[in-house]
């Protein structure tokens, strides 16, 4: 844990140099929230659809945008991509710390920076301007925190998996675009799954992407009843474990491949 903390705090310090980026991220997030709020107010007015009204959807837009800013997918992928191109990956591999651990700590450090300097201000400003609903209950709030943790884990594994595929294809860009497409639709970043037509909602329910944005916010809003909370979180945990297992196997194969390529 000590080593992990050291890596994470280094990434945190590195990020401090990018204050302008944080301001930009706040502005960009606020624009996204503003657009979504305008849309929900236009289509929902003072009524409710599928048991949800404009006030809930405003909260959904704010929290979901905040979560998107924390996801570890892109930072993980980009750091592997950069080091694969420069060849520095060889240095990473001979470190006494396992590479995936280093990657996770590094991504978490960046996310912590982003969380404090970009996401927290976004939430405060958006909450004051547009109004943020309170969590449905203390239990839901606790489950929300756990679900955000799961969301970070799943997003890290997706980034890590795409990065590993880059060992074969030598670029991560294609995976970033393709996986991003699934995130956009099935993750529920903007449109929650309860507004999907029944068939598609069924499909989305079977995919792991909904654990990125949809599940945490749905829990916060109390759209997941208390008896189902544990089950929902356990399924997410199973997804995270399965994807991590897949990544572990692929990692083992990739390292062998890299060595062979290095000849």
């Amino acid at each position: 844990v000590h080593v992990d903390l050291a890596f994470a705090s280094r990434a945190f310090a590195r990020s401090l140099a990018y204050r302008t980026n944080a301001l930009l991220a706040i502005f960009g997030n606020l624009v996204i929230i503003l657009i979504q709020v305008a849309i929900w107010r236009a289509v929902l007015g003072s009524g409710t659809v599928a048991g949800v009204g404009a006030r809930e959807m405003v909260t959904y837009a704010i929290l979901s945008t905040g979560i998107t800013g924390l996801l570890l997918y892109e930072s993980t992928m980009h750091s592997v991509d950069r080091r694969l191109r420069s060849g520095d990956i060889a240095v990473d591999l001979i470190r006494p710390v396992s590479y995936p651990r280093y990657l996770a700590a590094d991504a978490l450090g960046q996310a912590a920076f982003h969380g404090i300097f970009a996401i927290a201000p976004t939430l405060v400003v958006a909450g004051l301007v547009f109004g943020l609903e309170a969590p449905a209950s203390p239990i839901h709030l606790a489950a929300f925190v756990v679900a955000v943790g799961l969301s970070l884990t799943v997003s890290f594994v997706f980034g890590y998996l795409s990065a590993l595929l880059a060992f074969w294809f030598l670029t991560t860009l294609h995976f970033e675009w393709s996986l991003g497409a699934f995130f956009k639709v099935f993750g529920g970043a903007f449109l929650p799954l309860w507004f999907f037509p029944p068939g598609l909602a069924e499909v989305a329910g079977w995919l792991p992407f909904r654990y990125l944005n949809f599940v945490p916010v749905a829990i916060y809003l109390g759209q997941v009843p208390v008896p189902e909370l544990a089950g929902t979180l356990l399924v997410g945990l199973a997804w995270a474990a399965a994807l991590l297992g897949l990544a572990g196997w692929l990692w083992w194969r990739s390292v062998r491949r890299l060595v062979i390529q290095g000849g």
Binding site: A42, T171, F195
Partner: protein, 264 residues
């Protein structure tokens, strides 16, 4: 002569990319999937709610495509050079552009032409044609001429915005983040601007006239109500685009003069 030279530059760029044909085609497929997801979300939203401020799915798809299509055209000439000007000014390599026989801006636009917007063009062009066929518009010669002019104007406008921001590199040491600000504003164009607060509508109409890229032309063609200006303002869209490009060109020239002054 200029056009021939430009086409040769483009051919070189395409051949550069085709070195890695598989990766290039795979990239196009992935980008189409990425943009397709944006269309899918809009489709699902309008499936559920019918209309968005009176705009149907086909109409929003038309609006969205008009923006994406003209962005791809405008940015293919300007995105690469304008995001690189900052570094070229910083390390002095902009000097090499000044000794070329061609106008600096034309030279950069041709030499750094980006052939990577194929995916944008394919998907937005496809949706543009598809939605145009399903809209309640009688596509006569007048409408088609207007649409063609509006597309050219909008592409000029999109290019003008990137050139103006790129020119800031001659004044500010670090100007890259202004692109980030611009792309945040650009997001507003995905939906009818009547959704937003009046202040934002004025901002997009007068200050950063991006509403002339897609909102006013689409509102005029589709017989929609305008925003802070009536939809008849759409008639001015090609003109606004041309003026913006001329203005951006002047700004870039001013920046180049400044650069020369500083170097001497």
């Amino acid at each position: 002569v200029t056009l021939g030279l430009f086409l040769r530059f483009v051919r070189l760029r395409v051949r550069e990319r085709m070195e890695y044909r598989g990766a290039y085609l795979l990239g196009i497929g992935a980008q189409i999937l990425g943009w397709g997801a944006d269309y899918a979300v809009i489709y699902l939203l309008l499936q559920r709610f019918g209309t968005l401020n009176g705009w149907t799915w086909e109409q929003v798809a038309f609006l969205f495509s008009l923006n994406l299509f003209t962005y791809a055209i405008g940015a293919s000439f300007t995105f690469n050079p304008m995001t690189e000007v900052e570094d070229m000014v910083a390390d002095g390599s902009f000097d090499t552009v000044l000794v070329r026989p061609l106008d600096p801006l034309l030279h950069l636009a041709a030499r750094r032409y980006n052939v990577g917007y194929v995916a944008h063009i394919l998907i937005s062009g496809g949706f543009l044609v598809w939605s145009a066929g399903r809209l309640w518009v009688e596509w006569g010669p007048a409408e088609l001429t207007y649409l063609a002019l509006a597309i050219v104007g909008a592409a000029c406008l999109q290019a003008a915005a990137l050139i103006t921001i790129g020119s800031l590199a001659f004044i500010l040491v670090r100007s890259g983040h202004v692109f980030g600000l611009y792309y945040a504003l650009w997001r507003f164009l995905s939906y009818p601007i009547t959704l937003y607060h009046v202040a934002i509508q004025w901002l997009l109409t007068l200050v950063v006239p991006l509403a002339f890229v897609n909102f006013y032309p689409a509102a005029l063609l589709l017989g929609k109500e305008g925003a802070v200006l009536p939809s008849a303002a759409g008639m001015a869209a090609p003109f606004v685009g041309a003026m913006a490009l001329l203005g951006a060109y002047r700004i870039f020239r001013l920046g180049v003069d400044r650069y020369q002054g500083a170097g001497g």
